[in-house]
């Protein structure tokens, strides 16, 4: 998960100067060690399976408590960090991505995961989604999309389909819903994948691929709200008579237009990686600027660098 920003010479005072960490072998964390509060979600909520698979990811990839940071905004799914026994932050509504960017850009040693819902991602936080994607700031963003506002008890969400009856659209939702896949691709995300909570193996696969991607990796994970939008995703669940179709084997993930076309398919559409590109991350680009500047200053102490600037103000 290390990006090129780590190639900057480590020194006192550098934003990247962090202890090299403990090198001793520790055994992989068990679910028990990584689980914190019992989730407050309603029984049957799709978010349980996303949480379980996050634990599995941590266990499988032998990530240490102190090396992951779980960040969320506001919403049912955004309660996520409380349930994970690791450093985490529960930030304000819609702003988890810029917060996570601050962590990612200063701490290349950490795995930064952001969890949230469709309201957080595409309504109040829509602007941040676009800009974090286009800047390609290294992190993994899992949006647990349930097509409804659950925490506030059934209002229309930006992904609610037209006709969905909610407390704010008594006669059915009127507005064209956001298509998360299209949004991510057009914003410039470099990893765009789609999965559903009813297929645990696939969720884990997508999480692993996202974590290994050097850049902004986005996963839309359908996650049913049994309380306020029961059955929303039945047609994607073979156990409920629906179909779960993977992205075709011959799909070229580097082809932006093909990805966009895939995203345009009517629900339930396809599942898997729609788009993946290798573009320099913001982390790496900032690292380059720093390296170039440090070439002239790395032999100096901080006060000496500042003294040089002050000399020009005499």
């Amino acid at each position: 998960m290390s990006s090129t920003i780590t190639t900057i010479p480590v020194r006192e005072g550098n934003i990247t100067s962090v202890p090299s960490g403990l090198t001793e072998e520790r055994k992989g964390l068990t679910k028990k060690e990584v689980a914190a509060d019992h989730p407050t979600w309603c029984p049957g909520c799709g978010d349980f399976s996303v949480l379980a698979l996050y634990f599995k990811l941590i266990e499988k990839r032998k990530i240490w408590h102190e090396k992951i940071t779980t960040i969320a905004g506001i919403g049912c799914s955004s309660r996520f960090p409380y349930f994970v026994q690791a450093h985490g932050a529960h930030f304000i509504h819609g702003r988890a991505l810029p917060f996570a960017s601050g962590v990612s850009l200063t701490r290349p040693d950490l795995h930064v995961f952001v969890f949230g819902g469709d309201g957080d991602a595409f309504s109040i936080g829509g602007n941040h989604f676009t800009h974090t994607a286009r800047k390609n700031i290294k992190m993994t963003y899992v949006v647990m999309d349930n097509w409804v506002y659950g925490l506030t008890k059934k209002q229309t969400s930006p992904t609610s389909p037209i006709g969905f009856k909610s407390k704010t659209d008594l006669g059915g939702a009127l507005d064209q819903p956001v298509n998360p896949m299209k949004q991510a691709i057009s914003a410039g995300a470099t990893f765009v994948a789609r999965t559903t909570h009813t297929n645990p193996n696939h969720v884990l696969q997508m999480m692993e691929a996202a974590m290994d991607h050097d850049g902004f990796s986005f996963i839309e994970c359908l996650s049913e709200c049994v309380e306020f939008y029961e059955g929303a995703f039945d047609s994607s669940n073979p156990r409920k008579g629906g179909k779960f179709d993977l992205v075709p084997a011959d799909h070229n993930v580097a082809d932006e237009f093909a990805a966009y076309k895939l995203a345009d398919e009517p629900f339930p559409g396809k599942f898997g990686i729609f788009y993946k590109a290798n573009r320099a991350t913001k982390n790496a680009n900032e690292g380059k600027i720093i390296s170039a500047a440090r070439e002239k200053t790395h032999t100096m102490k901080d006060w000496q660098i500042l003294q040089k600037s002050f000399d020009k103000f005499r």
Partner: protein, 607 residues
């Protein structure tokens, strides 16, 4: 110019040379004429000559062009304000001449570009007119078709001659400024300067010589308030920040963007104000106090995230360079009307720290103080500056950087246990432990905006909410106890105490001097720590019959401004009243003096 130096020029005969200790020069032109450059050269020359200097400028809010002024006051003694009236007006255009002649003292010198200005008959007897064909002579001096370029430097030459300024030092400054560009640029600038310096002002006007200033130890540096804040943050060890462009804050983000990579850090331009405070909070959470900042509407946008930083007890520095409000307001004018939003903005009880520098030197040291308070108390700190300090150039003793600079790299060594919101922490000041820190108990903290228990997990317990609210408040009580009591300028007992904050310190002190010279009993204090207030103010107030709070904001519904409102709320004392104005301009010394007199003459109003 200091008293008694302005004598009428002798009729005929050779020009007289008078000695001066203090001079105010107002340069009026259009914003693209490079008049700030003239002022900048004069200010830096003063700094290198161990003189005191203060400048003041107005810039149009238009994208390009428009009338603009730059006023510079240079003194051999203490310079507290940029001056009420100018001794010399340099006018490039008819509008500059007509709009600014009123700022010139009677008998003062108006030096005008006779290629553009037609002097008015009725002013001929009031001011000493000196016309020089600046535009034409600049073209002559540089050669070719220089158009308008270089006439600022030509005018600098004229002024240098008039005040017998140090040519060697000015040449060095011009060389430093223009080196690196095409060598013809430097040659042209030198030609323009010497053209102006060599121009004969004839017998029309006397020339002046500054009296020797008292020698000071060490070098002086000359910079504006925004530069001082930017460098102060760097000295404090800040290596990450995020912002969004807005006037007059943008200079600081541009400086940090340019400078931080040299130190291994970076500054990010975000998509909006909310993202920038969020990203800065993320940087702080990740282990090192980070900075964001803004002006005007940007501060309003940041308040929700600010509330999170209070709740989650996250160290953070927010710089507010105030401008006229509300809404888009007066983007390039000064006002002190953000005090309330800085102290109270946001929902819920959310104690945060607000400190306000009173001059350029303060900007540097208080940026460091802001960082250290944020770290010590795990609290957001607002550094409240304004457009006047942001753009004004002052000279101050160069900081001893080796001693001042600090390393605040995060400490990520493993800890046995950690409670992020430990209720037993001394004064409620618990410590933030950054991600990457191994916690041996296996119990990890959550930073949160929900009311929480000591580990950061959500709670609806009434008892815990009360305890946590008190914890966040107690930190500020503890800070108040260690803040210095403001020094009294003038005697500690008397009739009137003026209370100021922020950029008004200079004019207030000068008003005290002037009023006392006229026999009035006036003293002043300047409050730099606004939230919390330092302890002991009531003892100071007890020594005076009237406490008048001088602020550049509206007198409000009840007759006093924002700081006065806080002081009245704190001390319940009706003798605290306001001297307010909000015309977008800095206080003039004589305004303060006159308003103190009328205010006190009207007596204490009954409430």
């Amino acid at each position: 110019m200091s008293e008694a130096t302005l004598t009428a020029s002798p009729a005929g005969g050779s020009p007289k040379v008078s000695s001066v200790s203090d001079v105010v020069i107002r340069i009026a032109g259009n914003s693209q004429d490079g008049i700030q450059a003239i002022g900048g050269f004069l200010a830096r020359l003063a700094g290198r000559s161990e003189q005191e200097v203060m400048t003041h400028m107005t810039i149009p809010a238009t994208i390009s062009g428009g009338p603009s002024i730059f006023q510079v006051r240079i003194g051999s003694g203490e310079v507290l304000s940029s001056g009420d009236e100018a001794d010399v007006l340099l006018a490039f255009y008819q509008h500059s001449y007509e709009d600014h002649i009123g700022s010139l003292k009677k008998g003062g010198i108006v030096l005008y570009d006779s290629d553009h200005v037609e002097p008015k008959e009725e002013w001929a007897g009031l001011y000493r007119h000196v016309g020089v064909a600046i535009t034409g002579l600049t073209v002559e001096a540089i050669g070719g078709t220089a158009k308008d370029k270089g006439k600022n430097i030509y005018a600098l030459g004229l002024i240098s001659k008039m005040f017998d300024l140090n040519v060697t030092k000015l040449e060095a400054l011009i060389t430093e400024r223009f080196t690196g560009k095409d060598s013809s640029v430097l040659n042209n600038a030198m030609s323009a300067f010497h053209g102006g310096y060599g121009h004969s002002l004839g017998n029309i006007v006397e020339t002046f010589k500054f009296v020797e200033s008292q020698k000071k130890g060490g070098h002086q540096v000359v910079m504006n308030g925004n530069e001082a804040i930017g460098f102060g943050l760097i000295a404090a060890g800040v290596r990450f920040g995020a912002g969004y462009p807005i006037t007059p804050w943008s200079d600081i983000m541009e400086l940090l963007r340019r400078e931080l990579p040299k130190y291994g850090g970076t500054f990010i331009q975000c998509e909006d104000e909310i993202a920038s405070i969020s990203m800065a909070i993320g940087g702080s959470y990740a282990g090192r106090v980070s900075v964001t900042g803004s002006s005007g509407p940007g501060i309003s946008l940041k308040t929700e995230a600010l509330g999170w930083a209070v709740m989650a007890e996250m160290p953070l520095v927010i710089v507010d360079i105030q401008r006229g409000g509300p809404s888009t307001g007066l983007p390039t004018n000064v006002e002190q009307s953000d005090l309330n939003i800085c102290c109270f903005g946001g929902h819920g009880d959310s104690p945060r720290v607000v400190i306000a520098p009173s001059n350029v030197e303060d900007c540097f040291y208080m940026a460091i103080e802001a960082v250290n308070i944020a770290r010590k108390y795990s609290v957001p700190v607002i550094l409240l500056s304004d457009q006047a300090i942001a753009t004004r150039i002052e000279a101050f003793e160069e900081p001893k950087l080796e001693q001042v600079c600090q390393d605040i790299s995060p400490d990520l060594s493993p800890v046995a246990t950690h409670k992020p919101y430990d209720l037993k922490a001394e004064n409620g000041a618990s410590r933030h432990v950054a991600p990457g820190t191994r916690i041996e108990s296996g119990l990890y903290p959550i930073a949160t905006g929900l009311e929480h228990d000591e580990m950061g997990h959500p709670t609806g317990s009434p008892k815990l909410h009360m305890e946590m609210v008190a914890k966040r408040r107690r930190k500020l009580n503890a800070l108040a106890a260690e803040l210095p009591r403001p020094a009294i300028y003038g005697p500690s007992e008397g009739n009137v105490l003026l209370v100021g904050w922020g950029s008004t310190q200079g004019p207030i002190k000068e008003a005290v001097d002037r009023a006392r010279a006229a026999g009035d009993s006036v003293s002043s204090i300047h409050i730099k720590h606004i939230n919390p207030l330092p302890n002991g103010l009531e003892e100071i107030f007890a020594g005076f019959n009237h406490v008048l709070v001088v602020e550049m904001n509206d007198e409000g519904l009840y007759g006093y401004g924002q700081l006065a409102g806080i002081l009245r709320g704190r001390f319940c004392d009706p003798k605290i009243r306001g001297i307010n104005k909000c015309d977008g301009l800095t206080f003039k010394v004589k305004d303060i003096v006159e308003r103190v007199r009328t205010n006190v003459a009207s007596g204490l109003r009954k409430f």
